[in-house]
Amino acid sequence: MILPLLSIQATAQSPQEIIKKSENQIKGKTSYGIVEMTIITPDFKRTLKMEGWWIGNEKALIEIKYPKKEEGNKTLKIGKEIWLYLRNTESLIKIPPSMMLQSWNGSDFTYDDLVRESNLERDYEMKIISSSDTVNSEICWKIELIPKPQAPVVWGKIIYWVRKSDYLPARIDYYDEKGKLVRYMEFYDVKEFHSKKLPAKWVMYNNIEKGRRTEFTLIDIKFDIKIDEKIFSFKELEKRR
């Protein structure tokens, strides 16, 4: 059992393996977290505190805890659909397809980003460009991901940096089909959460509207816990907790 694993370790690793390992570090089968989201634009800065539950890529529920005005607003993702529960009007709204590219809660993420299934291994051809690139003084693999011909993806190219020391992602660049850098995510501040090492700060920089970025600060995160599927139902959504 151990021998083949060792031999892979010893020889060069395939980019697929590196990316898979890295993705697994920051994702679980299920997860629960408390996250602070800060939206920074040249005009203003705004912080939201959120609590979220995820089951793989299938279901997610995010509830806003702060600021007061938006407290109790919930975003529910079921498969490819997004529903919003709005506390003020106590109403449930399904985001129509035409609005999926709108910003989610004013961040640099769209509703579409929340539902788009990302299966990098299935959709992209991978190639290691460099094995000794540095991002924020960490030595990284620099891996280029080019979409496979028929893959249903929006990006023209992704560059993925994985830290060699602990397989955590360091930076991800997203390019459009014309080869223009649209946005990039950087990961900082590695901390231990329930004996798992994770970057505590994720920052998505908007490269189209310069000066805009969205920062996520993990306050608490747990992986592979048991989540009651009931919380993803509409009935539960409308219950005020």
């Binding site: 938006e70 009007t89 985001i95 035409s98 609005m99 809660n105």
Partner: protein, 424 residues
């Protein structure tokens, strides 16, 4: 010797009168040819005046109705709003700004408006929408929105949380008049906010893009909903004459510059309308240019004939000492007579027609009409009696006629007595 100089001057004037008389008589020596030429020129002038009249008149009409309703002839907005029409680029509608507008002459109406992209939902059905926050009282005198109500009623100044929806949006939401809908938007403070509004009316602007999305509400409701106290996106302005747009725009821009505001004309805001007018105008001018060129060949033909026909008598005149230059002058005067009569006659006919069309605009039906209806305006041809139509038409026909008579005139200038006499 002194005695001769005044009489010499007198002789020159006499000479011109004499030439004029000869030219006038000459053109009537062959009545039929002259009448045909005059008719051709008059025809070209009439057609040009009518076509230009309809074009310019209709452009004016389009600008007055489309720009008048939506953008205003001039609008005030924040610098950078046209590149990024977001809530962040709205501005405080202060008394100071009001004072500046009020003190500007020629402004007959102005309307503050707040626009925002939102999501509107009736529960199961949700769509993207655009809020038009307006002051209903002001809009009564400004736009004709209140005339486009399909069901229900227009907004009232004193009632709150009521909306008017575009008819397509209303249909899509599958609701009834009096139902409540939920509007969701990110406000000026960045927070996502949702509120219930009562649907009191359905509006059909006839502009598909808007009928699919527009949500009219009271300006103060929109400001409250979007956390944008006292803020507006634009102030639309109407002035008495379209010709004064540039002047007033400059004046307002100067005065508002210190507040980071700009005044733009409808051409800056409604680029699409401006471009379609420019395109139509260019194709119309091209068509008329072809028409005038064809007429020019007709003139070339008649003048050449009338000149060649008289080579005999020109030869004799030259033989008894008449100068070539003077012959050229006489022929030139003949051409001028014919062209001027044609232009005057054509302008008169065209003018009468245009006047009639202004009084009785042609209402279009069928395919043409549907194009207009897409923009939500009554499909009709309107004409114009602007002086520039007549001046431009007259001048271009005159110039083209003179150019086309260069060759016959040159032949007269180079004519030798014997060659003329013997010309067959």
């Amino acid at each position: 010797m002194k005695k001769f100089s005044p009489s010499k001057n007198l002789r020159k004037e006499d000479e011109i009168m004499f030439f004029l008389k000869i030219a006038w008589r000459n053109i009537w020596r062959n009545k039929r040819r002259t009448i045909i030429t005059i008719t051709a020129i008059a025809f070209a002038t009439t057609i040009t005046v009518i076509m230009r009249g309809i074009q310019l008149g209709t452009y004016d009409y389009l600008i007055r109705t489309i720009a008048g309703n939506y953008s205003g002839y001039i609008q005030i907005q924040s610098k950078g709003y046209s590149e990024d029409p977001s809530l962040r680029k709205t501005f405080i509608y202060s008394d100071e700004i009001k004072k500046i507008i009020k003190s500007t002459p020629d402004i007959i109406a102005y309307a503050p408006r707040l626009y925002a992209d939102v999501m509107i939902s009736s529960g199961e059905n949700s769509y993207g929408g655009i809020i038009y926050g307006i002051d209903p009282e002001i809009e009564f005198n400004f736009s004709n929105f209140h005339k486009k109500i399909k069901h229900g009623r227009f907004l009232r100044k004193d009632s709150s949380y009521e909306v008017l929806l575009g008819d397509k949006l209303f249909e899509n939401l599958k609701i009834k008049l009096g139902d409540e809908i939920i509007i969701l938007s990110q406000g000026f403070d960045g927070a996502l906010w949702d509120m219930k509004f009562k649907v009191v009316g359905v509006i059909k602007l006839g502009y598909t893009e808007l009928d699919n999305a527009v949500i009219f509400m009271n300006l103060k409701d929109a400001q409250e909903f979007l956390s944008a106290e006292n803020r507006v996106s634009v102030i639309a302005i109407l002035i008495s004459e379209l010709e004064k747009i540039e002047k007033i725009k400059r004046k307002l821009s100067e005065e508002l510059n210190s507040k980071s505001l700009v005044a733009l004309s409808w051409e800056d805001v409604m680029v699409e309308l401006k471009q379609s007018i420019e395109f139509d105008n260019a194709s119309g001018v091209l068509f008329l240019a072809f028409l005038i060129i064809i007429v020019a060949f007709g003139i070339l033909n008649t003048i050449s004939m009338s000149v060649v026909e008289r080579f005999n008598e020109f030869g004799i005149s030259l033989a008894i000492g008449f100068k070539n230059q003077k012959l050229v002058l006489i022929v030139l005067l003949e051409i001028l007579f014919i062209v001027l009569i044609g232009i005057l006659l054509g302008s008169l006919l065209g003018g009468i027609f245009n006047y009639y069309l202004i009084k009785n605009p042609i209402v279009l039906t069928g395919d043409f009409a549907s194009v207009y209806e897409e923009f939500g305006i009554e499909p009709k041809f309107v004409s114009s009696l602007k002086p520039r139509i007549f001046i431009n038409t007259g001048l271009s026909i005159l110039i083209v006629s003179l150019i086309s008579s260069v060759i016959p005139l040159y032949r007269v200038y180079k004519l030798e007595p014997l060659k003329g006499i013997r010309f067959t």
